[in-house]
Symmetry: C2
Subunit: 425 residues, 2 copies
């Protein structure tokens, strides 16, 4: 970099890290590598005919609004459709007002606006370990610091928060602006926060006076088990900001998402959005609005669920079949009730970042886990996506992955394990 | 606001001001008020058939990319089309590389990303007086302070900059990150920066080592006079970041814009965009890409120019005809060579903000000038938009405006002037 530029850059951009996912995707997706990286929906499932019909309808009857500048808070008919939707029995079952919702350009913009609205340099965000790296990026870019809380099978270990807080000064506690949590089929861990922990987290937020930012992009993609009420539904209004998106349910290419929260908070986020991009594209909102109005989204989601459920099963079955070592507790993976990802945990001496070139050599890609930790401290994990590849590629990809892992020092590959165990059976 | 929330908000959002334009538009546009506020294109000119064709083509042949997540720097085929376009003889005539451009959600996001990339709290931006308030909002939200330079008929009085700088310490000069300039048919003033001043500004930027952010949304909407080379074209690469948009040339509802600059700067802006919203909607970019590929934009721009030229003439003629007082130098307005706005300057004792309720009572709206000044110091100006209303409404609106202004203290309305002048003729 030129010295001139070095001197001009902001502190935030100097420490900003690009997403290794987005960087590596650019390379991976032009080759014959099977990719478990990324978090993309299956393009074979895009509702093209529905979108065609919606575009035509919008351009024929609503062009005056759909092609013009729109309100920063979002296209009113879309907000009204969303309000109806979240009130219904199989969704959040909450009634919100038109001033308690803002439409955003993807949920990433929701994260950006939350950070813009609440974070001063040095403020603190409580995050899961691991957590969504786009959240870390957004919070870092406004000077956020982190307190990490590890996850187990039922999500963030909420009961550890209070111990951490007790070690802080009152001044430090005041700098905690919010806890960032992805309660449903978490990215990257795939875990779902238990109802008990949801309630406990709200109690803590009330006691220590911080907000909760609930990021729930996958919630409607549940493949088994029972729907859990959102923190937004469980808490008093104003305590939780819930981020939702149509990227996984409709398609990412329209970038339509929304945030719900207390009206005072939404007001501030709208102010922030004015300075950020004026408004979300009206056309995209009008198309979504038509799709919701025609009740066309829910049948599409049913279709997504049936395909992704099968893909997830295929990945889990393949992992059971191919991943070494048999019967040893050192390689584990999550079995999420929904979403797009599994999380795989290796023996501690394995560094998935160092292993990555070998994976690419074997034409299989994953996302190394390190970037999902605010402090980069955990090296032995990886995130595996199953929504994008075909069933055939999932099985073949897991085979390749097993070969890569099996060739690591200290890992006994399945065949050897079987042979060494023969005598004992 | 609840005390709880007050304590949690970031410093930047506490001082953020909403755009009075965006706020008042919401009220104005649902009534029979004639609005010279806003800065919207005429919806009667939206190229609906072209967009229909483009949507259909994109959905039929490019859905796999257009409906998926895209690269943070923008859809490659669109960037390639833009690169071709800016290289052509009647545009910027500059050759840029694929890594010297980023696609943004409107130029407002360009402003946000520039601020995110360069501004630390307390850094300085040199701005025109008046200047685009969305620029002020974006820079303020990252802690920017301002040095204002007044404009005259040929734009920012660049020759005054050096005097201002001489009063600053070296440390303060180092905190000047960039000058923000809208050189063509400026918003709100309508003025165009002379070639001489463009060159002078570049020389100063090199001497004092600051960047130039050239915001040029209206450049291709020129109604008379000769095209002026952009600062981006005149300066060494890396010195100028140029913001351009399709909002005024195609339609605002797609929110597709782009920034061009040195590749090191664009790299940093892409990093910033990852954390802000991941990517601009791929669908919107693919539609624009098709429109450019088919050479369909330039003929559309010709149409816009012929209609807007006529509307501008209508507004100028109506102002000449109706605005009091005849022959007095105290009410002046600009006669821009292009763009969407005129700027009207009243006698100093008139406060256009205080006059606004009377205007609304008379069913005519404008934007008060105060918000376009970084320090809010100028009260006696207003911005008038002529792109949105019909010819009939422009004339009727100016009549109403003349009545409102004529009823202000110290303003002699036309009829009275005429009568009082009779004896002297």
């Amino acid at each position: 970099m030129t010295k001139f530029l070095e001197g001009k850059l902001s502190a935030r951009i100097k420490v900003a890290k690009r997403s290794t996912i987005r960087e590596s995707l650019r390379l991976i997706e032009q080759t014959d590598i099977i990719s478990f990286a990324g978090g993309m929906p299956d393009p074979a499932l895009f509702p093209i005919d529905l979108i065609k019909k919606a575009c035509d309808e919008v351009l024929t009857n609503h062009s005056e609004f759909a092609l013009q500048y729109g309100a920063s808070e979002g296209y009113l008919p879309l907000r009204q459709e969303i309000i109806k939707r979240v009130a219904s029995a199989n969704k959040e079952e909450v009634k919100i007002g038109e001033d308690e919702i803002i439409v955003t350009v993807g949920s990433q913009q929701g994260l950006d606006l939350v950070a813009k609205t609440f974070l001063n340099y040095g403020d603190i965000v409580i995050v899961e370990e691991p957590t969504y790296l786009g959240g870390l990026q957004a919070f870092r870019s406004y000077g956020g610091n982190f307190i990490g809380i590890p996850c187990d099978e039922t999500g963030m270990q909420v009961e550890l928060i209070e111990d951490k807080l007790k070690k802080l000064s009152n001044q430090e506690i005041e700098r905690i602006k919010f806890v960032y949590v992805i309660p449903d089929f978490q990215n990257p861990g795939g875990r779902t926060l238990s109802l008990e922990r949801r309630k406990k987290l709200i109690t803590l937020a009330e006691k220590y006076n911080f907000l909760i930012v609930e990021d729930s992009p996958y919630k409607e993609l549940r493949y088994c088990g029972k729907h859990k009420p959102s923190l937004f539904a469980l808490a008093p209004r104003g305590r939780v900001i819930m981020l939702c998106t149509f990227s996984k349910l409709f398609c990412p290419g329209f970038r339509v998402a929304y945030a719900m929260g207390g009206k005072e908070i939404i007001y501030q986020m709208v102010t922030g959005k004015q300075a950020t991009d004026l408004c979300t594209p009206a056309f995209n909102q009008a198309v979504l609005s038509y799709v919701l109005e025609k009740d066309a989204l829910d049948p599409h989601i049913e279709k997504l669920i049936s395909v992704y459920r099968e893909k997830q099963k295929c990945m889990l079955d393949s992992l059971d079949k191919y991943i070494p070592p048999l019967g040893m507790p050192s390689i584990k993976w999550t079995k999420p009730d929904g979403g797009l990802f599994l999380w795989m945990m290796m023996p501690e001496h394995i560094d998935t970042e160092k292993m990555f070139p070998k994976a690419i050599e074997n034409k299989i890609a994953y996302v190394m886990g390190t970037d999902f930790y605010h402090d980069g401290s955990v090296k032995n994990c990886m995130r595996l996506n199953f929504s994008m590849p075909t069933l055939e590629k999932i099985e073949e990809g897991v085979k390749r992955l097993a070969k890569v892992i099996g060739s690591e020092k200290g890992i006994i590959c399945r065949k050897q394990v079987r042979e060494s165990m023969k005598g004992k059976e």
